[in-house]
Symmetry: C2
Subunit: 395 residues, 2 copies
């Protein structure tokens, strides 16, 4: 297989606007969340952007059935106020958002569209928990793992156990991921959790799947995020400071983790990162900001290694050194990540691009980090069965 | 809104292979169906095609939850034998397949991929009927129509009533759509129904939603179809007779039909067709083959008018004249259409492209029609809330 990705020969793509709802257990229903994210994205465009400028829409959502709306991409057109717009729903479990952004990039690169709107959405809290468990559960392997009782927390617990043992990493490294996430979330007005936690609180939190405790797990969250992807030609109409898409990469893997050689990383993430760096013509050393898929604390350590910013088995050390904090050498998830900002499934990959848009433009407010290079968004579906990695820059 | 579509500035796309399972109530599970369609597509490539040549995969499926596999695009990579392949699930209800083909065309046009595999799949018969009704039902409008008791057959029954009355079209015109579909299906070894029916049988079949009877409705069907989409540069490696994608168009509409001005056609189909013809630089007069979305007999009449091949209110007359039969002036659904071939939701839009690939290459066997121009595939999601139209030719 040729793992080849590119931003396209026709047109380079750029982000020119981004919107974000409050993440949390919020009263708004799915339509209101979509509308709010879309309005935010349109309003964020420097020189203004009318909904009539949007050529194409992508909706990323797992859907849950909870809101009982099928053919749901049409809702995006309705809430944009443009019934008639071509819209597509993209669903790759927890990586739906990252993949939808990449489809929009391709639409722009192909020359078939000047401005694409990508909305990620999940309404998780007004669904019965049985239904939610089902929908989340089937995003892992059903045939050999879920029906044998293995939950997502269970998979990541197994991964964490093996990882800590194999690389002699202290449990505190996982806790430090959560501490950092909550520190960042406390500065993000859109985050689900806006409170700090101590390392001791994390370590003593109730066990969910040994060694992971409650504070090692992302919450159940409602929310939506939206980004506007333009061709660079069109981008000039909208802003002097677009955020360019330098490269995209994606990959899949066996659904069942038991079919993989080990649990110490996700081959799909590695392939996706490698393809994205190749397309962007960069190396991991050129990154100055990482948005990583930290659905569990252990997932952030795997991500850092799979993205090539930490050597194998060394992401714990990097994290404990403080390098991934907002004031560190390579800030990771300054928005609080899935862990503290929340993980509304379809919204997550789009929310990562929202954060990169703010940070690379110096508009992230209290949580602003110093950026002097490229940024990467890393979005994982299931337990590593799909992964999308995208590299951005202002250059 | 700019309804603008194109096959892309970078590369033109072409179909170089296609595979198809038997459609029907078949014993195979979803994985076997995917595998069979994929193997068929690879084996169909004139100069051979190894799975390692595939750069990217798209899976179109509504999913139903019946097979309990989420993150399902990874299954496509597994069954192709290429875990690691970038894969994406596209879901736009009954138009999932048509939209997935267009995403693949964009991937190729953008220059990011040489050969994309699109698989459409639905396993409908081993799902509880309650679950199936739910999944199908939510593809229409839930908030104002489904929960008030309006089913899909009900919507199309209302449309048929209004259409027949407004345009003084005889009920026999609907019946003739079914008679033609079954005549064609009888020659298609992959069709769900391979038997002819008489006009009298259709007219006297049990009422489902007045005026529509049982023989006016497509069946509940399992099946999968696959096509290989290549850049024209790559296509030359695979075949001397690719089928080119001349233009793509898509659009959405309000989910609820009550929000539309009338029930006499689908504005989304009209917009999608208009965009596709513009991209292809052609007019409806240049078509010599139509694959239309005939989920109910009335839907084929709407499709012919929305596609511009019949004047408003005149599709019944056209059908009764025999012009849409295999030996007519403009053959429509020579494969039997959704009505007789069956309508495995996610597979339908891909199956249409399979048929066009066979017909334009003169490889359709007993059901071969005379083709001397372009062919169009028309795929509708829900009751016209999403629509994808794609124009093909061998030129």
């Amino acid at each position: 297989m040729t793992v080849r990705e590119a931003t396209g020969v026709g047109h380079r793509a750029a982000i020119v606007g981004a919107g974000h709802t409050r993440f949390g257990a919020v009263p708004e229903g799915p339509r209101a969340l979509v509308r709010s994210a879309v309005e935010g994205a349109l309003a964020s465009v420097d020189r203004g952007c009318d909904r009539s400028s949007v050529d194409r829409g992508y909706l990323a959502t797992l859907g849950f059935g909870g809101w009982q709306i099928g053919n749901s991409s049409a809702v995006l057109a309705e809430e944009l106020g443009s019934p008639g717009l071509p819209t597509v729903r993209v669903e790759n479990a927890c990586a739906s958002g990252g993949f939808a952004v990449q489809e929009a990039v391709r639409a722009v690169s192909s020359g078939g569209c000047d401005l694409a709107l990508v909305v990620g959405l999940e309404k998780m809290t007004d669904v019965t928990s049985a239904r939610r468990r089902y929908w989340l559960g089937v995003s892992g392997d059903t045939e050999w793992e879920r029906q044998a009782g293995l939950t997502f927390a269970g998979v990541y617990g197994l991964i964490a156990s093996q990882y800590l043992a194999r690389f002699s990493v202290p449990r505190e490294a996982l806790a430090e991921v959560a501490v950092k996430a909550h520190e960042n979330g406390a500065l993000n007005p859109n985050a689900h959790f806006q409170k700090r936690v101590s390392r001791e609180q994390v370590l003593s939190s109730p066990k969910v799947a040994d060694p992971l405790g409650l504070y090692d797990c992302c919450p159940v969250t409602d929310g939506a995020a939206a980004v506007l992807v333009a061709s660079t030609e069109a981008a000039r109409r909208f802003t002097d400071t677009p955020v360019f898409v330098d490269g995209t990469g994606a990959a899949s893997d066996y659904l069942a983790v038991q079919e993989r050689p080990d649990l110490l990383g996700f081959p799909a993430s590695r392939r996706a990162a490698s393809a994205a760096y190749r397309a962007a013509g960069c190396s991991p050393e050129e990154l100055s900001l990482v948005e990583a898929h930290d659905c569990f604390t252990i997932a952030e350590l795997l991500a850092l290694e799979d993205l090539g910013v930490a050597a194998r088995g060394k992401a714990g050390e990097l994290t404990l050194s403080g390098a991934t904090r907002r004031d560190g050498r390579l800030p990771v998830n300054p928005d609080g990540g899935l862990k503290a900002k929340g993980h509304p499934i379809g919204a997550t990959g789009v929310s990562q691009v929202y954060e990169i848009f703010q940070q690379l433009r110096g508009a992230a407010g209290a949580r602003q980090v110093r950026v002097a290079g490229k940024a990467v968004a890393h979005n994982v579906g299931g337990a590593g069965a799909t992964a999308a990695v995208t590299v951005f820059s202002v250059g």
